[in-house]
């Protein structure tokens, strides 16, 4: 392993500053003298004095470079954030860049040692956090969490965030990624169709079975999934495993415990998917279709349920007629002895932001993120993107869309909000679930084969000492 910090002195200086910030000695003269010293060694230096209003010591007229992902959330909120930063730090020129392929565009800049100050690490291909943290190339954002929040200096940033943000961004025990958008996942359906047919949303497997047979008689598939993008079906099965086996079952999986995928919860979840496939409840040919085709099948009334995130309505806006009313339902009970109660919802922060250590202005980078977490900017994000930010109460009182209100309502009523970690930590394991779950839903495999294939991948990951292991709790 080559875990080499940039240079010993560099590390010490940072550690000192970070600890100082953490203990709240921000305004102490000694520290500001230190911060002032720091400005002299160009790389990664800060030039301003650290105060309560300027917790990272952003220097006057320091240029800032921010790179955003140009995807489903669009460009507008980024432009708003940049304008806000430039207004607050007068004279600081912000260079705003957009990319559709973050990894391709920014990998060379990490390697070359001149990364941007803030990077929106999102897209189909992201910079993998593991190798970059190994090389000491990301700023530990603990200082940001402990800094005073933008709106109220008495409240720390940490306390303005919804639950799960710190955990989701943590690697090797420290938070390196700030996930900004909060997505709620579940089974989406067309409420209008259900009303017309007099159907109700199932709460148990029996109710679902009855509904599925009724729908089949009308030529409607009860279920569909985004076939060629296996990320979706891997979420369905993991969510169902959690539903049946509770947090305990998921922790075994996250922590790569021996035979974690041989648990009964995994067996039940896999059997349910196999049952749907064998009884013809899944849209025919779904495993070869893409996400828009299958999502459109639900909108067109050809399928009843599809698992997706709260971005679904925005994604399908162009082909969504006004007569269709998308709503979300939590997973129904899969057995009579599910450990997680009915109503349990899967929700997780996403859309990561990172600050590279070798950036020219990491202090400005962290300040930029602190401002994004302010009330006004978070609210604007909700308005512009029709998605929830991770800031508590940011979208309160906003009527954004019926689908998002439905998602928020389900999340608010949830007895438990769930998430898991293995997928982000261990790519080969996630890939194995991708392949095996798709085969299962396509009716080409059996629950036992699913369990065996995934367990094999989990064992290989567990014994591969080149994959850095994480601990979930």
């Amino acid at each position: 392993m080559t875990v080499t910090p940039d240079s010993p002195s560099e590390l010490n200086r940072r550690t000192v500053l970070r600890r100082a910030a953490a203990v709240g000695l921000l305004a102490a003269p000694a520290i500001s003298a230190l911060a002032a010293c720091a400005s002299e060694d160009g790389e990664g230096g800060t030039t301003g004095e650290k105060t309560e209003a300027n917790p990272f010591g952003v220097g006057d007229k320091q240029p800032l470079e921010v790179a955003f992902f140009n995807g489903g959330f669009g460009e507008d909120y980024a432009k708003f954030d940049v304008a806000a930063y430039e207004a607050k730090w007068a004279g600081s020129k912000v260079e705003l860049k957009f990319s559709k392929t973050i990894l391709t565009d920014y990998q060379p800049r990490f390697y070359g040692g001149n990364p941007p100050d803030v990077l929106n690490n999102s897209s189909p291909e992201t910079i993998p956090v593991g190798p970059v943290v190994q090389g000491g190339q990301l700023v530990d954002l603990t200082a940001l969490l402990d800094a005073p929040s933008y709106d109220d200096p008495k409240v720390k940033v940490r306390d303005t965030l919804v639950a799960g943000v710190v955990e989701e961004g943590t690697f090797n025990g420290k938070m390196y990624t700030l996930n900004y958008a909060y997505s709620i996942y579940g089974h989406w359906y067309d409420e209008a169709l259900f009303q017309k047919e007099g159907w109700t949303v199932p709460k148990t497997w029996e109710e679902f079975s009855t509904l599925a047979e009724a729908a089949k008689k009308k030529g409607i598939a009860a279920y569909t999934f985004q076939g060629i993008h296996p990320w979706y079906i891997h979420n369905v099965i993991t969510e169902w495993i959690y539903k049946v086996g509770g947090k305990e079952a998921i922790l075994k999986i996250d922590n790569l415990e021996p035979d974690a995928w041989k648990q009964d919860a995994v067996k039940v979840a896999a059997e349910r998917i196999a049952e749907m496939a064998s009884k013809g409840w899944i849209q025919a040919g779904a495993s070869g279709l893409d996400h828009t085709t299958t999502q459109q099948a639900v909108i067109d009334g050809k399928a009843l349920f599809i698992w997706c995130g709260s971005w679904l309505e925005g994604e399908m806006a162009k082909t969504l007629p006004a007569t269709v009313k998308l709503a979300v339902a939590p997973p129904w009970d899969l057995s009579s002895a599910d450990k997680a109660k009915y109503g349990t919802v899967h929700a997780a922060p996403g859309e990561g932001f990172i600050v590279p250590t070798k950036a020219k202005n990491p202090a400005g980078g962290q300040e930029f993120l602190r401002m994004m977490l302010g009330k006004e900017q978070a609210r604007k994000f909700a308005e512009l993107t029709k998605s929830l930010p991770v800031v508590k109460g940011a979208a309160d009182g906003l009527t954004i869309s019926s689908a998002l209100s439905s998602a928020s309502k389900v999340a608010a009523a949830a007895p438990e909000v769930i998430n898991w970690r293995y997928a982000g930590w261990y790519v080969p394991l996630q890939n194995a679930v991708f392949a095996a779950a798709t085969e299962l839903a396509a009716g080409k495999s059996t629950p036992a084969a699913f369990q065996a294939a995934v367990q094999k991948a989990a064992d290989e990951v567990a014994k591969d000492d080149k994959i850095v292991k994480q601990k979930a709790s």
Binding site: T2, Q107, I228, G285
Partner: protein, 329 residues
């Protein structure tokens, strides 16, 4: 005089050689170097690890499967493409009825040439979009809807095509090595043939046109049939062109990256369940969807292996088909 000429030539060659060195040779050398390190692709700090990456590579299930898929492509794609291209080229140039006008192609041959060459001008992205529609796995797919109308396929059991991982023949196991031809791979080969025939048709046409007509006329006068003319006259005279085509197609078969990534399921293509994974697509998914901190170096080892296999193939091919006696006409 000769000194001036050398300077003149050097002057012209300097820029291309410099570009070649910077953008081709240097990256090759770099890749080879990284393949014996634990380079992550992100940090400039890395260590030499010897040939460990190569040892792991040839014990990697998916890589061996991908290699097997490349072998399938390599055996089918060049042969079928060359045979079709030769046949069409022959028909278009000398396959027409022999009459007073002498040797000529079938009627409407220029139209056919245009049609056959057309796929060549489409970018691979467009080819992928078109063929995804053709192979779509529900009643919206061209082939499926046709078969459903004919009553050959049930509406709730469409053919999966690109999402079908079953092999068209029972998989053959040779130790760790599995030899199989999943349906998805066969679909990709069909698309590649569709796209490739036009180019080689033009190549062979040009070669045939450079053969003096009197040779064909002499063959006709001696009473040779079209089949005889093809095998006794045309093919031997095209030997070198066929050999070149074989090398090109072989290299394309060992690559096959764009079709796999553009058309098959899964992140970065290669699905379902690695049924269409080829060496190059697996290399890319290792380089850019890493889990181990050194997977970039691992991917470099794959790149070097692919390059060596390709060079060996080309060398063997050249040796096998080297023309013994060159014909002048």
């Amino acid at each position: 005089m000769s000194f001036g000429r050398a300077r003149f030539i050097t002057g012209f060659l300097f820029a291309p050689i410099l570009l070649y060195a910077v953008y081709v040779l240097y990256p090759y050398a770099q890749t080879a170097y990284y393949s014996v390190t634990d380079f992550s692709g992100f940090s400039p700090d890395y260590a030499y690890v010897g040939f460990g990456n190569y040892v792991e590579l040839f014990a990697d299930d998916v890589f061996l499967r991908a290699l097997g898929h490349n072998v399938v492509v390599l055996t089918v794609y060049p042969v079928v493409t060359i045979l079709l291209a030769l046949f069409f080229a022959f028909m278009l140039n000398v396959g027409g009825r022999g009459d007073k006008a002498g040797v000529r192609g079938v009627r409407g041959s220029s139209v056919y040439k245009f049609i056959f060459f057309f796929p060549q001008v489409l970018s691979i992205a467009i080819v992928a979009v078109i063929w995804r529609r053709v192979f779509q796995s529900n009643d919206g797919g061209m082939i499926n809807s046709l078969l459903m109308k004919l009553g050959l396929v049930e509406k709730d059991k469409p053919l999966l095509f690109l999402a079908e991982s079953d092999s068209v023949f029972p998989p053959i196991h040779l130790g760790d090595f599995t030899f199989e031809a999943p349906v998805v791979l066969v679909c990709l080969i069909l698309i590649a043939i569709w796209g490739g025939v036009g180019f080689y048709l033009i190549l062979f046409s040009a070669a045939m046109q450079s053969i003096p007509k009197d040779i064909f006329e002499a063959a006709t006068l001696d009473g040779a049939t079209r089949v005889q003319t093809f095998f006794r006259v045309t093919l031997p005279l095209l030997r070198e062109h066929v050999s070149v085509a074989w090398v090109y197609l072989g290299i394309a078969a060992l690559d096959f990256y764009a079709l796999v990534v553009g058309m098959t399921p899964g992140p970065g293509g290669g699905g379902p369940n690695d049924a269409s994974q080829v060496m190059s697509s697996y290399m890319m998914s290792n380089a850019f969807r890493p889990s181990r901190f050194d997977s970039f170096a691992f991917a470099c080892a794959m790149g070097v292996s692919i390059a060596i296999l390709t060079l060996l193939f080309a060398a063997a091919q050249m040796r096998l088909t080297r023309s013994r006696d060159k014909l002048e006409f």
